[in-house]
Amino acid sequence: MISAEHIKKTFGDREVLRDISFRIPRGEIFGLLGPSGAGKTTLIKILTGQLAATSGQASILDTRAEKLTMSQRREIGIMMDEFGLYGRLSCYDNLKVFALLYGIDRREIRKTLAAVGLSGSEKAPVEKLSKGMKNRLRLARAFLTNPRILFLDEPTAGLDPATAEEIHALLLERKRLGATVFLTTHNMTEAEKLCDRIALLDKGHILESGSPQEVCRRYNRLKQILVHLSDERDISFPAVPASAPEISALLAEGTVETIHSSEPNLESVFMELTGSKLNG
C-alpha cells in the first residue's frame, strides 16, 4: 500500500531525512513517532507527493508518489496543519467546497459530519469551534472521499484525553472498514494503544520499528522493579537475579509498602535509544 525506499531529504545542507525505508501493508495502522523536528511532517509530504525527495522513492498504491493521478489522489485522505479550513464558512460549507471538487453527493457531507460527531455543528462558523472540533472537521475532510489510505499528521495533538479517545475510535472504525492509516504522533501511549506497527524517528533516522509489543520486548532489559518504602522513598532495581538479595533485605526490615514491576514502554525505549546516542 505505502512504501518508502531509501528516502533522503536535505534542505540546503541540512539533512532532515536520511535513508528511510519501510513498507506498510493494507489495513494497518502505522505510527511514526518522534520528537519535534524529527522530520515526520516532511516524510508525510514526500509520501503524498507534495514534496520531492532528494533521493529514494516513495510509492502509494504501487504508483510513485509524484506521479499519482487525480483518481488515485481521491483514494488518499490527508490531514495536516498546513491544510487550512475556511474560518468564516460553516462546517457544512467547508466540506461542501470539497464535495463540489470531488463531485461527491451532498448526502455524503452530512454522513461524514455525523461520523465525526459534528452533526450538531453543521451551521457553526469554523472560527467559533473549539480546537477538538476543528480537528474533527479536518478529519471529516480527509474522510470525505472514503479513502483507502489516510495520512494523518498529529491527529490528536493538543486535545484533551477524552477527545483524543474519540478520535482513536474513529480511526479504529476506519481500519475496520479496510483503510490503511499512516499517522504521526509525539504521544507514545497513543501509539502503543492504536498502532499495529510503529517506527521511532529521530534526527532523520528510523531507530526502531515493529509492533509496539515487539519493540518493547526487544528492550526487556529495561524492566525495573520498583520498591515503595513506608517512609515514602521509592527505590528501583533492575529486574535481574543480582537484585534479589537487596530486595529481600528490605523485605526483611519490614519497611516495604508495595512492590511493582515496570515494563519497558515506548517512552522508556525512546529515552534509552536517544539517550545512548547522546552519550555515545
Binding site: 507534495q50 489522489r73 491544510f83 475556511y86 474560518g87 464558512l89 461542501k96 467546497v97 470539497f98 475532510r141
Partner: protein, 230 residues
C-alpha cells in the same frame, strides 16, 4: 469547470461574512445611491456622483479584495488544500478573479442604474468599468501572490489604491497632478466615463491604456513565475 465552480461557491459563501470584501463591494454603490438622492445642488453636473465614485470604485474594490482574498488563502493554507484536491492555479485564479469581477460589475450596475443615462450610454459605461475592474483585479492579484501574509497584502494595496482612485479626482484641481495622472489607466477611464465618447479620445489615451494593460500582464507573469501560488 467543476473546480472553478467550487472556488466560486466558496467565494459566494464567504463574501457575506467577509467584512473587508463586502465593504469594498458595497461602499461606493451605496454612496452613489445615497448621494444622488440626498444632495441636490444647483448647477451640479448631471450624474456627478456616479462619475466621481465609479472611478474610485474600479480603482479600489477589485484591487483590495483580490489582494486580500488571495493572500488570506495563502496564509491560512486553504489554497494548499484546494491544490491537493486537484484545483489548478489557473482554475483558482479564474474562480476567485471571476467572482470579484462579477461582484464589482454588479456594483457598477447599481451605480449606473441610479444615474440618468441612455441605454447606449449604460452599455458604454459598463464596458469601461469591465475593463478598469479587470486591470485593478490583475494588480490586486499580483499583490496577493507576492505577499507573505494578509497584513502585508493590505499594507501594499492601500498606497496603490490611493494612487489609482484619488489621483483622477485630484487631477481636476491641479494641473501638475493631472500630467502625472494621465499615465494611469484610472485617469484615462475617467475621461471616458464622464461623458467622453471614443471619437473624442486621442490616440495617446489608447496607447496609455494599452501600456497599462501590458504592464499589468507583464507584472503578473513575472510575479507568478517568481513566487508561484503556494
Amino acid at each position: 469547470m467543476r473546480n472553478i465552480a467550487a472556488v466560486f461557491y466558496k467565494q459566494i459563501k464567504d463574501t457575506l461574512k467577509n467584512k473587508t470584501v463586502l465593504i469594498q463591494f458595497l461602499m461606493f454603490p451605496v454612496m452613489t445611491v445615497v448621494m444622488n438622492n440626498a444632495m441636490k445642488i444647483e448647477n451640479m453636473p448631471e450624474n456627478f456622483f456616479t462619475e466621481l465614485f465609479s472611478v474610485m470604485y474600479l480603482g479600489m474594490a477589485p484591487l483590495v479584495s483580490s489582494a486580500s482574498i488571495v493572500s488570506e488563502e495563502k496564509e491560512k493554507g486553504t489554497l494548499r488544500a484546494l491544490f491537493m484536491a486537484g484545483v489548478k492555479p489557473s482554475e483558482y485564479l479564474l474562480g476567485a478573479g471571476g467572482y470579484i469581477w462579477a461582484g464589482c460589475m454588479a456594483g457598477s450596475l447599481i451605480m449606473v442604474f441610479f444615474g440618468n443615462y441612455t441605454a447606449g450610454r449604460i452599455l458604454f459605461f459598463l464596458l469601461i468599468m469591465a475593463l478598469g475592474i479587470f486591470f485593478s483585479l490583475i494588480f490586486g492579484t499580483c499583490i496577493g501572490i507576492a505577499s507573505r501574509s494578509q497584513m502585508a497584502a493590505v499594507s501594499l494595496s492601500v498606497p496603490l489604491m490611493m494612487v489609482l482612485s484619488f489621483l483622477p479626482m485630484l487631477a481636476m484641481f491641479n494641473h501638475t497632478v493631472e500630467i502625472v495622472a494621465n499615465f494611469i489607466y484610472t485617469q484615462q477611464l475617467q475621461v471616458l466615463l464622464s461623458g467622453g465618447t471614443c471619437g473624442m479620445i486621442k490616440t495617446e489615451s489608447w496607447l496609455i491604456l494599452a501600456g497599462n494593460g501590458f504592464l499589468a500582464l507583464f507584472l503578473f507573469a513575472f510575479i507568478y513565475k517568481k513566487n508561484g501560488l503556494e
